[in-house]
């Protein structure tokens, strides 16, 4: 917050929260209105204390005392009510703001293209949507809002003290520079320490988590000693930093305390030289002690609150950095009322990076209802081609049309309603089995769901699960076998009403009986839809109407199984080596 450009950037960040906070502007405003009231009530209390002591207790005038004391009581009770109301208003408004921001981030994430996800690990994005928003929420409810009040309180207390006895206040302020220096030094050292603690602790925990999940391997390879040493090596800098932080933390805390006591001494000294004029009374000392308390309390918390605010600003910067990413897929306005599933690819070039094409001049036509198998060695571009057809990647050159309409000219939703892609890795969600199949799509009726499950050979095992369709899947479906997970994704595809299916066959090895069920389910998909399948199974390849062989991003052969074997080219070679190559290099 030291330099101006920094401060400008910070205020720009804060301004960007406004759209999320706007709906609760009334609550925020209400809270803000209460602030001067809090201040006035807080500042009045020591003044009433002084008045009670000096004008009534010292002079023995008891009559007015109860009135002043009653005023004091009214101030503190009202002060409490106002402070509580302020806290509640800000808390509610802050949480609602954060809620809206969180939802916006999630929506934003759902709209980003695969190109965006290629570059970012899920863990990092998770931090944006949860931890970063959380630290913003934390600071909204604890840090930022009270920071304003704190600063105002410090200023207000100083003004009140000046009005009561300005010379004594000036004298006390002489202690401010040395105290400020100590606090500033400690704060700087602490900031270094805290950063170090955070970094080193993150390393300790990451190592711990990884070693625990790989512990069996560590043990099987007799590698325990090295593993323990690795832990100690990471734990030691953490310990050193945290021990060091203790010293500065303690000093800072004690300095504020001690200076408070020295202030009392100073006041007495001032009273002793000034006592002839009797400007310093017992009531004044009591009032000053009270004011000093009100001054030191926010000062003591100031550094930790500034840290919270700084963390929130850092979080905001990252959050808006994410929201500024606009790697959405370009969409058009075209209309496609009822697709038959006629796909035509002409002169298609594509590369993930400019100047590094992985597909070169692909020409391919798939008639409605046709099944085309795509085969080729690892890295030949099979998977890339499928990713263009459901528009996960933008920026192809050439033309891809569905029923005569260019894909890039259609709304994304239209393309994806008509082209469903089943990826190689089995994507399941920790929700109910039913949700995993229908994805809460209102258009999928109970009958359609059951029929799809039946066709996908999933119905019988689902109904045998405890809880049947309401059974909860664990993380990534780990309570299902690999084969069962695959069958569920097939059911999902069959329930979804798309004409075209792009199927990237999974290669995970399953036992022969499940393998038979999987092949059977694939055969049913092939019967019902227009399919382009990246095939690894011979059974799938031979079931296709046509086989297209890719090599180095080009179509090199096309035909039926028998024709291509006859030809004795690339396909025959692949057949010789066996098709079961699950290894797809790179993206």
């Amino acid at each position: 917050m030291s330099s101006t450009p920094r401060a400008q950037a910070d205020s720009r960040l804060l301004a960007r929260i406004w759209p999320y906070a706007r709906a609760d502007a009334a609550l925020f405003g209400f809270g803000m209105l209460l602030t001067p009231l809090t201040l006035a009530l807080g500042l009045a209390q020591p003044w009433l204390l002084k008045r009670a002591i000096d004008q009534h207790i010292m002079s023995g005038e008891l009559e007015g005392l109860q009135l002043v004391a009653g005023g004091y009581l009214a101030c503190i009770v009202l002060g409490y009510v106002v402070e509580a109301a302020y806290g509640v208003a800000m808390g509610i408004a802050g949480q609602r703001t954060v809620y809206r921001l969180r939802e916006h981030i999630f929506r934003h994430l759902l709209g980003l293209s695969a190109r965006f996800y290629d570059k970012r690990p899920a863990g990092e994005l998770l931090t944006r949507a949860t931890s970063d928003v959380e630290s913003l929420g934390e600071s909204l409810s604890s840090g930022v809002v009270t920071l304003v009040v704190d600063v105002m309180m410090v200023v207000g207390v100083l003004i009140a003290m000046f009005i009561l006895e300005w010379r004594m206040t000036l004298l006390l302020l002489c202690l401010a520079p040395p105290l400020g220096l100590v606090i500033e030094i400690c704060r700087r050292k602490l900031r270094v320490c805290f950063n170090l603690i955070r970094e080193t602790l993150a390393k300790v925990n990451a190592y711990l988590a990884e070693q625990v999940s790989g512990m069996e391997i560590v043990q099987l390879f007799n590698d325990e000693r090295r593993s323990v040493q690795g832990f100690i090596d990471r734990n030691t800098p953490y310990k050193d930093a945290s021990v060091r932080s203790n010293v500065y933390d303690a000093l800072m805390y004690a300095a504020v305390d001690g200076v408070g006591s020295i202030c009392i001494g100073l006041m007495l000294w001032y009273a002793s030289i000034d006592s002839l004029e009797l400007a310093v009374s017992a009531g004044l000392v009591a009032a000053f002690i009270d004011y000093l308390n009100r001054l030191f309390r926010p000062l003591r918390q100031l550094s930790s609150k500034i840290t919270i605010v700084q963390r929130a600003l850092a979080a905001l910067e990252k959050i808006f950095g994410l929201l500024d990413h606009q790697e959405h897929i370009g969409e058009g306005q075209g209309e496609l009322p009822e697709a038959s599933g006629h796909l035509v690819i002409r002169g298609l070039d594509f590369g993930y990076k400019a100047g590094e094409d992985v597909l070169h001049g692909i020409d391919l036509e798939i008639a409605p209802g046709e099944v085309v198998a795509l085969v080729g060695p690892s890295g030949c571009g099979k998977t890339t081609l499928t990713r263009l057809l459901d528009r996960r990647y933008d920026g192809y050159r050439g033309s891809i049309t569905l029923d005569g309409q260019e894909l890039s000219g259609l709304p994304l939703e239209t393309v994806r309603k008509n082209v469903a892609a089943v990826s190689q890795d089995i994507q399941l969600f920790p929700e109910t089995v039913r949700f995993n199949v229908d994805l809460d799509n209102a258009a999928i009726s109970e009958d359609r769901l059951l029929e799809a499950a039946q066709l996908a050979n999933a119905k019988s095992f689902v109904e045998a699960l405890p809880g049947s369709w309401s059974a909860l899947l664990r993380d990534r479906g780990s309570n299902l076998s690999v084969g069962q997970g695959q069958l569920l994704t097939f059911a999902r595809t069959l329930a979804y009403d798309s004409r075209v299916v792009i199927l990237d066959e999974a290669t995970a090895s399953v036992d022969p009986v499940t393998e038979h069920l999987v092949q059977d389910a694939i055969a049913r998909i092939l019967e019902r839809k227009t399919v382009l399948v990246v095939a690894h199974r011979l059974s799938t390849i031979t079931a296709a109407d046509r086989i297209v062989v890719l090599s180095r991003g080009r179509v090199v052969e096309q035909g039926t199984h028998a024709e291509l074997l006859e030809l004795g080219g690339a396909y025959a070679e692949l057949h010789e080596a066996g098709f079961d190559d699950g290894v797809e290099l790179g993206a």
């Binding site: 005392l65 302020y86 203790n246 933390d249 006592s275 920790p430």
Partner: protein
């Protein structure tokens, strides 16, 4: 726990001493102030004396308080350090039996969060308990000495406030726990959505995922709003109580001062005492929960520290001579804890030294369990497994494992380089050969830094097949007497598969100096792999239902022949 804190007794003793000094100073300062105030109108030199005393005491307080906090908190940090190291060391000694009953995240949380809570208890908690006791003793005592009646009056609101705040803190803790759980659920929801992004977008299910996310996010928000209510209304109550005490000081103490029962200076000292006592009392509220959480954490940590590592062989077990031993399983039955059925039941099998044994069976037939028992991840019952002339359980665990080279079904890679993943602590210079033998060569060429490519968390940078072959290279890198390979050839094409089996063959037939041929146990579904072994064992429901050479087995009716016929049909 005492074991960890005891070495620091001198620190704590010093801390106590300084803390007592701090509290003594904190009481003396207002007392001297009261003397000073009351002397203002009579004896100015007495006032000046008080000034010097107070100033000196204030400075002294800075040093003494710093020292007490450093002395109290530093042992906590050092205990944290040692405790974490010991927990980690203990984790390396515990077997899968322990890990199977504790989620990985839970164990990490014990070693990370629980130790921190424990540290908070011994450091912060210890300091606060002493502080509160000393403050009550000194300050309360001094207040009582000055005026028992006034003390009685002003203490009432503080005690009431404390009780109310205490209740609020308990409620808050419940809410904080709920909010943490909800945040966890929210994170899981985001993570699973990110991982399934392709499906969500591909099936245009964005809206239903937003709905699910929002429901959880709203529940989380509502919990936090409840928390804000408590924080805003209950937390300032203690300050309110302190202020009410000062009000009582005026309303009740004022007349007392007028009547001469207390001096005005003492009244002002009471203001200082109340504001000094407020914070230790306030922290008392937190203390109860810090201690509660700390004790709970201690229990969770003890569960790890005192878990018994399974070492049936005792401190030092039998070490076998060099070379592969004969292995014999006699009616081996094994059941996982909590399982309803045996995973292996009365399984008998001979594995003579130097053979290459294939194991075939459906998912759940016990293949992997068999390997895990042989590698003693899970200990078999006594007498069920003989190795050479000994029971498997008599063998020294690390000596036995140094004879093994294992490639598990699911390859686990650490987030270091491929080179380090293969070496696993052994010499690095032969890593390229091992990688070559595991058919990683072409893959390494395509990777940005070859063997030095850092593979990311759990090897995320590599494809499934590459991970599998890296794990295989790791096994081949060890010059082992027994190779246990669990379905490691499932994700390679047939050409690579042939190369790999050739390598294994070569390894098996290579007579090594004085150690004979290694034994290989190979789990696979693939007929082409099993055909190359010396003998195939067919497992079903944890039993051996057939065994023989591949050629024999495809002649006999049974699941093996059926699978073979199925494969022939598919290929035709």
């Amino acid at each position: 726990m005492r074991r960890y804190a005891a070495p620091f007794w001198a620190w704590y003793l010093g801390g106590m001493l300084f803390l007592a000094l701090t509290n003594w100073l904190a009481v003396r300062i207002p007392v001297h102030m009261a003397v000073g105030i009351d002397a203002l109108e009579s004896d100015l030199s007495l006032v000046r004396d008080q000034v010097w005393i107070i100033a000196a005491m204030g400075l002294g307080m800075i040093l003494v308080r710093t020292a007490s906090r450093v002395l109290f908190f530093t042992p906590g940090r050092l205990v944290e350090f040692r405790l974490k190291n010991d927990i980690f060391r203990q984790l390396t000694r515990l077997q899968p039996r322990f890990f199977s009953t504790h989620e990985g995240g839970d164990i990490v949380s014990r070693a990370a969060n629980d130790v921190t809570y424990l540290r908070a208890m011994v450091g912060f908690g210890g300091l606060q308990i002493c502080n509160v006791v000393l403050a009550l003793l000194f300050t309360g005592g001094e207040m009582f000495r000055l005026s028992p009646r006034l003390t009685g009056i002003v203490v009432i609101p503080v005690v009431v406030g404390l009780l109310v705040v205490q209740i609020a803190i308990f409620k808050m803790h419940a809410l904080v726990r709920t909010s943490q759980r909800q945040l966890g659920e929210l994170s899981d929801n985001v993570l699973s959505s990110l991982q399934g992004m392709q499906t969500i977008q591909g099936f245009t299910a964005e809206e239903s995922f937003v709905a699910r996310f929002s429901a959880r996010s709203a529940a989380f928000r509502d919990t936090n709003i409840s928390l804000a209510w408590i924080q805003a209304t209950a937390m300032p109550l203690l300050l309110l109580a302190g202020s009410i005490s000062i009000y009582l000081l005026l309303a009740a103490g004022g007349p007392m001062a007028v009547r001469g029962e207390v001096s005005v200076g003492e009244l002002v000292a009471f203001v200082a005492f109340i504001s000094y006592l407020l914070w230790p009392l306030f922290s008392l509220g937190w203390l109860v929960s810090v201690v509660q959480r700390g004790l709970n954490s201690l229990e969770r940590i003890d569960e790890v520290l005192y878990a018994q590592p399974e070492r049936p062989e005792g401190e030092r077990g039998v070490e076998l001579p060099a070379g592969a031993p004969d292995i014999a399983l006699r009616e081996l039955s094994f059941r996982y804890p909590g399982a309803e059925e045996d995973s292996l039941s009365e399984l008998s099998l001979e594995i003579p030294a130097g053979t290459m044994l294939g194991i075939y069976g459906r998912t759940g037939s016990g293949k992997t369990t068999l390997l895990r028992v042989l590698q003693r991840s899970w200990n078999p019952p006594v007498g069920a497994v003989r190795v050479g002339d000994h029971d498997l359980l008599e063998l020294d665990l690390s000596a036995w494992r140094s004879k093994l080279a294992i490639a598990p079904q699911v390859a686990f890679l650490f987030s270091s380089s491929i080179r380090e993943n293969i070496a696993m602590g052994l010499e690095l210079d032969k890593v390229p050969q091992s990688a070559e033998r595991a058919a990683l060569g072409p893959d390494l060429e395509a990777l940005p830094s070859g063997l030095d490519t850092v593979v990311g968390e759990r090897g995320i940078m590599l494809s499934g097949g590459q991970r599998q072959r890296t794990a295989l290279a790791r096994a081949l890198h060890r010059d082992a007497d027994i190779l246990l390979l669990d379905d490691v050839l499932s994700a390679v094409d047939q050409k690579t598969e042939r190369e790999l089996i050739d390598t294994l063959d070569q390894l098996a037939s290579s007579g090594r100096e004085g150690r004979g041929r290694p034994t290989t146990v190979l789990v696979s579904h693939r007929m082409s792999v099993l055909a190359r072994t010396d003998r195939v064992v067919v497992l079903a429901e944890g039993r051996v239902i057939d065994q023989g050479t591949h050629a024999e087995l495809i002649e006999r009716p049974g699941p093996y022949r059926e699978a073979w016929l199925g494969e022939q049909e598919g290929a035709a």
